[in-house]
């Protein structure tokens, strides 16, 4: 026992010393060294340990300047490059939510509008509608592209489907048109089948996708995402930037549901939350409808205008007729109009009327008037108008037919033949005739000289002259005296017969010699002067030169004729 114990003790002592020595040398005890050895021998453990330290080491090295970004760049680039070469889709999927917005920001709105304009132009370049647009552009001075775009901006997106890309299953849908329910699940699947069919049939490249299906006025617009696709049903042509809305929506769905989409196992409940994104796609813009012409209003206005025009014209015509009638009344003897007023379709006249005046309804203007439109207030009065006074005188004095009345300045001139008895009655009664102050009966029952002969007597005389002779020769002088004998009575003739006869001295010549006219004029003047000298009043003489060529009857040259005519024909 005693032998074994020292040996055991020695070995223990040795081991203890060795440990102490190892610790002194390495600073590690045996357990720690064994652990370190195990780490070095096991590559997995070792790499895991290094992996934990490596990022920290790199960061420290960069901070201390031992390593910079430039020196790391080739490795990173090469790694990414290799990754893209190996599986480009993976990187595209990773970058999809990030790249979309970045790319879109780079594309200005103007360029998009321009592209849309070009598309619209090409699509509608030769259609009848395009022709109409071109005409619109021509007349409105706007560009065709503008017109085409303006007409394109008419759309209505009624349904939005979120479809799982691989399975074709409908994840969620939103609709703006509840009245038109669709077999959404079937449509979603069939759309996927059609996409696959097109892709397979055309052997389309990975990058290709089915973006749009058009059927008549309906369009299905499809926006592809890595795990889901967005399909909308639109009527009309959504604007170019609607695509951006679709892109943003599918990106938002992927951003918020990337894991749900990637691990999709048929449970669609979680995609209820995409509702708020999908609803953004339900848009519509109604084309500004051209306001319909207010036909009823136009019709009514036309009727009103027509009626107004009718009444205006009618009123105007009435006013004209009323005014003409008032004037006629004012001019008619025996009327005195004190006041007249034209009202709405009515004529009001106030004044005086002699009982002998022509009744209004016998006046010419009366026929044009509607008697119901006239209010005449005419009081009786005694008119002093000559015609009325003479009428009154005839009614009262009852003259025989051979007696004529004339009134001037309230003096009644009586002429003609009557019995002495009537003459006495006249003298007794004329004062009872209103409007007559005095009476002149000098013309009554006188032996009136018959002067009817003087006109043919005057006109009988014709004087013939030789060339350039103006003066009368002795024979002509006698002839002239005979003329004067008749002409001198012309004033009496006028007075007796109440005429205004005058002598026209007509001197005839021709155009052969310009001097002829002068000679003819002098001859006429000579006679005029001679007649005045003989006592014929100057205002009863007129002279003129006439050319025989201008006459349609034969008259001798160088002759002077006398014609008697009434300068103021009597009114019948």
């Amino acid at each position: 026992m005693s032998n074994k114990s020292p040996h055991f003790d020695d070995s223990l002592l040795e081991a203890g010393k060795l440990n102490e020595l190892r610790k002194l040398l390495t600073g590690l005890d045996q357990n720690e060294l064994q652990k370190l050895q195990l780490l070095l021998n096991d590559p997995h453990e070792f790499s895991a340990e290094i992996g934990r330290l490596l990022p920290y080491s790199i960061r420290k090295m960069i901070e201390s300047g031992e390593l910079n970004h430039d020196s790391l760049l080739p490795f990173v680039e090469e790694t990414i490059h290799q990754s893209i070469l190996k599986n480009p889709k993976r990187l595209a999927n990773i970058l999809f939510p990030v790249m979309g917005p970045a790319i879109r920001k780079a594309v200005s709105e103007d360029i998009k509008r321009m592209l849309a304009s070009v598309n619209a132009s090409l699509e509608n370049g030769f259609s009848p509608r395009a022709l109409k647009w071109r005409l619109q552009a021509l007349f409105s001075k706007r560009s065709f592209a503008e017109i085409a775009l303006a007409n394109s901006y008419l759309y209505h997106v009624s349904h939005v489907f979120l479809i799982h890309r691989d399975t074709g299953l409908l994840l969620h849908e939103e609709t703006a048109d509840e009245s038109r329910p669709l077999e959404s699940d079937l449509i979603a699947s069939m759309l996927t089948a059609i996409r696959d069919f097109v892709g397979d049939s055309l052997k389309a490249a990975d990058s290709g996708s089915l973006d749009e299906i058009q059927y008549g006025g309906l369009k299905i617009l499809v926006e592809q995402g890595p795990y889901a696709i967005l399909a909308v049903i639109a009527e009309g042509q959504p604007p170019a930037d609607y695509r951006v809305t679709l892109m943003e929506t599918i990106e938002a769905v992927h951003y918020n549901h990337s894991l749900d989409l990637e691990k999709f196992d048929g449970d669609t409940a979680v995609f209820q939350h995409t509702s708020k994104f999908l609803k953004q796609c339900l848009v519509k813009e109604k084309k500004a409808t051209r306001p319909r012409p207010p036909i009823a209003l136009i019709f009514l206005s036309a009727i009103i205008l027509g009626l107004a025009a009718f009444f205006f014209i009618k009123g105007y015509q009435n006013r004209q007729r009323f005014q003409a009638f008032i004037k006629e009344l004012e001019m008619s003897p025996g009327y005195h109009i004190s006041k007249s007023r034209i009202g709405f379709n009515k004529l009001f006249v106030n004044g005086l009327k002699d009982p002998l005046a022509v009744p209004p309804n016998q006046m010419a203007g009366w026929a044009d008037l509607d008697t119901s439109q006239i209010r005449l207030q005419l009081e009786g009065y005694i008119s002093t108008d000559a015609d009325i006074v003479i009428q009154r005188a005839r009614q009262i004095l009852l003259p025989p037919e051979s007696v004529q009345f004339k009134l001037k300045n309230a003096i009644l001139y009586v002429s003609g033949q009557s019995s002495e008895e009537w003459k006495q009655l006249l003298l007794q009664n004329y004062r009872s005739v209103s409007g007559i102050n005095e009476i002149d009966i000098s013309g009554l029952n006188q032996n009136v000289v018959d002067l009817q002969w003087i006109v043919p007597e005057i006109e009988r005389h014709i004087f013939y002259f030789d060339v350039n002779i103006i003066r009368l020769d002795s024979v002509q002088q006698l002839q002239f005296d005979s003329l004067v004998g008749a002409a001198i009575n012309l004033e009496d003739y006028n007075r007796i017969y109440d005429r205004n006869m005058a002598i026209h001295v007509r001197s005839y010549t021709n155009h052969h010699n310009p001097a002829n006219e002068k000679v003819a004029f002098d001859r006429a003047n000579e006679f005029r002067e001679l007649l005045i000298q003989a006592g014929v009043k100057e205002d009863l003489l007129k002279s003129q030169v006439l050319f025989v060529e201008d006459l349609d009857r034969n008259v001798s040259l160088r002759s002077v004729h006398f014609s008697v005519f009434d300068t103021k024909p009597q009114q019948e």
């Binding site: 079937l186 699947s189 089948a193 069919f197 397979d200 048929g266």
Partner: protein, 168 residues
């Protein structure tokens, strides 16, 4: 609401369309099968107390003129392989299609439907063949679209299998 994409696969004229025709809601006509190679129908059912919408992609049966488009299978959560019990060669087609579908659908659950089970007199498929497939782990069901035998059960079963895979 659970939605699943289901594909109907099988040789030409095995009765795929007939199997689903009476039990689904459809708005598309049969012409889609011959034009774009697929017709999509919808079936809603309760599976394990859960409402499930199956979108049934009825693919055109392969024949000499038209090949099935594999892209239609992408995203399927399950599929029916349909064979005609009176034509043993349709089993071979189904097996071939299963290989392709397994790769495309990431081993989605499936059921082999041997249709036309009412035509017992002209039955060609030996029980051993089906047993072998069952031993491989296949779910095999005999159906008759004509007599409505096991059709709803098949949809129910596939629905359960898909849910189980979801949960597993």
């Amino acid at each position: 609401m659970i939605k699943k994409k289901i594909v109907m696969l099988g040789a030409f004229a095995v009765g795929k369309t007939s199997l689903v025709q009476q039990f689904v809601h459809s708005i598309f006509s049969e012409k889609y099968l011959t034009t774009i190679g697929v017709k999509i129908d919808q079936k809603e059912l309760m599976v394990n107390g859960q409402e499930m919408t199956m979108m049934l992609w009825d693919l055109y049966g392969e024949d000499g003129f038209m090949k099935m488009k594999p892209s239609y299978m992408i995203g399927s959560s399950g599929y029916f392989l349909v064979a005609d019990g009176t034509r043993s060669e349709t089993i071979e087609t189904a097996i071939e299609l299963q290989r392709m579908a397994a790769a495309t659908t990431n081993n989605a659950p499936f059921i082999l439907l041997i249709n036309k089970s009412d035509l017992t007199e002209s039955w060609e498929i030996a029980p051993e063949t089906l047993l072998k497939l069952q031993q491989k782990g296949w779910t095999v069901m005999l159906t008759s679209a004509k007599l409505n035998l096991m059709v709803n059960d098949a949809f129910q079963k596939l629905g359960q299998m898909m849910l189980e895979k979801n949960n597993g």
